[in-house]
C-alpha cells in the first residue's frame, strides 16, 4: 500500500504565493487573538491556588452562593467533568498557603466533600517558572538553529527557524482562541511540536542537500519541488502514525492529558504543513536574496 504513487510531481512552488499569504494571515490572526485575549496562563506561571473538589450533585449557582456568603475571599468556580452523582468544581483563587479553611467551611454544607487535587504556586515560584519556560523555548530554538547551521548551512537554519516560529505562534494563537490554559505541560507540548516539525523539515532538507549534489544542472526551485515530492510519502505516513497516537491520548488519556494532546494535534498538523510549504521557500528566499559572497582566492 502507498499513499502517493511514485509518479507524483506536484509543483509546490506554484502555491508559494497562496500559502505565504495564508501563513501570514494565520500568524496575524494568532497575534491579534493573543493581544486581544492575552495569554491564558495557569497558576503554575501566575501564582495562585486551584482546588478540584467533588461534592454531591449541586447547581453551580447554589455552590457559588454558599462560597460567597461564607468565605470572605474572591474565588472563581468552574464545573469540570461532573458525573451523574457528583459535581466536580474547580475553585480558583489567589495564592493561599492554607486552603484547609475553605475545605473546612465547605464541609459544613457538603459533608461528603472530596478533594481531588490541589495546585498551588506562590508568586515567586510562578515568575521563576515563567522565565525558565521562556528561556527553555528560546534556548531550544537557538540550539536547533546552531545544529542546522553546522550540519547544513545558515539558509537552512533561517528556513527552519521561520517554520518553527510559524508553528509555535499559530499554535499558541489557537490555544488562546480555544481558551486553553498554558502551563508547563503545554510548554512541553510546544517543545515537542518544535522537535516534531523540525524532524519533518530536516527530512526534506536532507533530500534537497542530496539532490543538489546529484542534479547539478537543475534549478534550485525544481530541486526543492522534487525533494518535497520524493519525501511526501514519508511525511504523510509519519504524520498519520504520530497523529494516531496523539488522538488516542486525546480521547483516552484522561482529563490531565487532554489539553496536552490537543496542543500536539494542532502542532502536528501545522508542523507538517510548514515543513512542506514554509521551510524550503523561506530557505530559498534568503539564499537568493543574500547569497554568500564567493571567496576570491588571493594570488601569492
Amino acid at each position: 500500500m502507498q499513499i502517493f504513487k511514485n509518479t507524483l510531481q506536484i509543483n509546490f512552488s506554484s502555491y508559494n504565493f497562496f500559502t505565504g499569504i495564508l501563513s501570514c494571515l494565520l500568524i496575524l490572526i494568532s497575534l491579534f487573538i493573543l493581544f486581544w485575549k492575552g495569554l491564558n496562563l495557569t497558576v503554575e506561571f501566575t501564582g495562585g491556588t486551584n482546588i478540584n473538589i467533588s461534592i454531591v450533585k449541586t447547581q453551580i449557582k447554589d455552590f457559588r452562593e454558599i462560597l460567597e456568603t461564607h468565605i470572605n475571599q474572591k474565588i472563581e468556580v468552574v464545573e469540570v467533568n461532573s458525573s451523574s452523582e457528583n459535581s466536580n468544581f474547580l475553585l480558583r483563587t489567589k495564592f493561599i498557603e492554607d486552603e484547609s479553611f475553605i475545605i473546612n467551611q465547605l464541609s459544613v454544607y457538603y459533608p461528603t466533600i472530596k478533594v481531588n487535587s490541589i495546585d498551588s504556586f506562590g508568586p515567586k515560584l510562578g515568575s521563576e517558572l515563567k522565565s525558565s519556560a521562556r528561556n527553555a523555548i528560546l534556548l531550544a530554538l537557538l540550539l536547533i538553529s546552531f545544529y542546522i547551521a553546522i550540519r547544513f548551512d545558515r539558509y537552512y537554519a533561517l528556513g527552519s527557524l521561520a517554520a518553527l516560529t510559524h508553528d509555535v505562534v499559530i499554535t499558541i494563537g489557537l490555544l488562546s482562541f480555544f481558551n486553553i490554559e498554558i502551563g508547563i505541560t503545554i510548554i512541553a507540548a510546544l517543545l515537542t511540536i518544535v522537535g516534531y516539525s523540525l524532524n519533518d523539515t530536516i527530512v526534506v532538507y536532507d533530500r534537497i542537500r542530496e539532490n543538489i549534489n546529484k542534479l547539478l544542472d537543475q534549478e534550485r526551485i525544481n530541486i526543492i519541488n522534487r525533494s518535497i515530492n520524493e519525501t511526501l510519502n514519508r511525511t504523510f505516513v509519519t504524520s498519520i502514525t504520530t497523529l494516531a497516537v496523539v488522538l488516542v491520548l486525546f480521547f483516552y488519556g484522561g482529563v490531565v492529558l487532554k489539553p496536552f494532546a490537543f496542543t500536539l494535534i494542532i502542532g502536528i498538523i501545522i508542523g507538517t504543513y510548514s515543513s512542506i510549504f514554509i521551510a524550503s521557500p523561506v530557505m530559498l528566499f534568503f539564499e537568493e536574496k543574500y547569497p554568500i559572497p564567493e571567496f576570491k582566492e588571493e594570488e601569492d
Partner: protein, 579 residues
Amino acid sequence: MFQRLHIRWVIILGFLSLAIYFINPTYQYYSIASDPELSDINIDYLKDDALKLGLDLQGGLYIVLELDYKSYLLAQANKSLTQSLKQELDNNIDRAIKESLLNQTDVLDELSNLSSNAKLTKFYSSLLKASPNSDPNNTLKVLKNKRKESMTAILDIMRNRIENHNQYGVGEPSIQRFGSDRLVIELAGVSDVSKAKEYIQRTAEFELTLVHSIQKFNEIIFKIDNNGENQFKLKNLLSASRGSMLAIQKDYDTINKILKKSESFFSDKYQILWNHNTNNIANDQVLRRLYLVNQKSAISGGEIKEPKALISEFGNDDAGKWIVNLDMTKTGKVKWSRFTGNNIGNQVAIVLDKKVFMAPTIQNKISSGGTRITGFANKQEAQDIAAVLKAGELPAPIKIAQINYIGPSLGQDSIDSGWKSMIFGILIIFIFMIIYYNVSGVLANLALFINMILVLGILISMDAVLTLPGIAGLLLTVGMSVDANIIIFERIREEIRIGSKVKAAINNGYNRAFITILDANVTTLLTAFVLSFIGSGPIKGFATTLSIGILCSMFSAIFITRTIFLTLSNYISIKKLSI
C-alpha cells in the same frame, strides 16, 4: 558477513536480556501486588528494584517550602539596631525581595547590592561576631553560609519529623534540598492532605508563652478600636469566653487585617494569636478562638525534652486518661521553674507556627522540669500535642511556595487511562504498519516491540519515576519511533522503483536513510534535553522517556531491523520484497 551477523545478534540479544533482567522485578512486583489472593506475600524486597510511579499516578502530596526571607533576615539582624537603621534594613529587604523576583536573582545578592558594605556589616554585626574566621568585609559570604547552615538544619529536622512519624499516614516520604533556599517534600500515597500539610507546617516555630487575662485583652481591643481607623470595631466581632475571645471564622480575614494594621498598639509586649482549628457550634456557626499572649516566650522548642503521650497511671486523680509528659533541658528547667512559680493559676499557650494548639492552666510551680499536661479528650488529641511539642523550633522561618496534591482516585484514573491509551496506541500503529508495509511492517513492529522493552529496561535501571506525562512521552515515541523505519522503508521502495536488486535496495536504503534519521532525531533530542531543565517531576519524566525512546528507536530501526533483513536475505533468496 556471517561473522558480522553473529556479532550483531549477540549485541541485540545482550541488550534485550539486560533489559528483561531489569524489568523482571517490576513485572513480579506489580503482578503480585495487584493479585488479592497473594496479598500476604511480602514483596518489599522487589519494591526497590521495581519501576516507581510518580506522585501524579499513585496520588500524594508535593510541597515546596522556601525560606521566608523577610522574617529570616530581620531575625538574623542585630537586635540593638536604632529605629532608623531598622527601618532602612526593613526597606532594603523589601526591595531586595522585589528585585530578586524581577531579575530572578538571589535575595542576598540583591540585599548586598542595595546596602553599602559598611551598612551591611552594621546590620549583621552580631552574626559576624558569632562566626569566627570570617572576613569582616564580606558580610554577604557570612550571610550565605548562615543560610546554608540554616537550610541544612531545617532539612534534618524535617526529615526527622516526617520519617519518624507515620501517624498521619505519611508513606514513602522524600525530602530534598532544592536550590539555596528551598526544600521539596514528597509524600506519596497521602490521602488526607490537610493533616499531612498541617504536620509539615507544624515543624515551624514553637514556643510556650503566657496567656494574658481577658481584662488585658479588652483593654487592647479598646485601644485598637479607638485609635485605629478601622472600618469594623473589634469589640463587635469578638466575645469573651473562657479566658480567650471567640470570633466567627468568616471574619478571620477582616480581623487579621485590623490586627495587622494596629500591630503597633500591642506588638511591643503582646501578640494576638488564633487557635489552630475551628470549633463548630450549633446553628451552623463556625467559631475560632483568639488568644492574647506574651510577645516574649517562656520556653522555646529546643528547651523541651522527650514529650510523650501516655495513659495516666493508677494513683493520679486522672488515672486512665490520656496525658502528655515532658521534660526540660537544663536552661529550660531554670526558666520554667521561675515562669510557673510566677504564674500559678494562669494559662500557658502551646504555640506552633503562631497558632495556639492548647492553653492549659498552670497548677503549681514546676522546678524539676518534669511536666504533665492533662485534659485530653482522647488518644489522638494527646498524641497531636506531643507531636507539636516534638516539632521543635526551626532555625529559620519557612513558608509554602508550592503545593500539588493528587487524590488517590485521580491517580488511579490516570493509571487506567494511561494504560488504555498505551495499548490502543500501540495496537493502532501495529495494524497500520502491517497494512502499509506488509511483511516489512511486521519486522518494524517487532523492532518497535523490542524498542519498548529496551526503553522500559533503561528507565528502570536509571531509577526513573514513571509519571503521566512520562506515559505520554512513551506513547509519543511509539508514534515517532516508527518514523525511522518509515524513512528507511520509503528509501528502499525508491531504490526498488529505480530497479535495484533486493539486497542492494536494502543496503542502499539503510545507508542513505542513516544520515536523515540522525539529523532529524538529534534535533528532537535537543528539545527534550532543554525540557529536562525546566520542568518539575512530571515534565522531567516526559523529557526522559522521550529522549530514551528516541535513542532506542534509532538503535532498533537502524540496527535491529537491518540485522533481521540481512539474516533473512542470507538464508532465503528474496526475489521480491514485501514492503
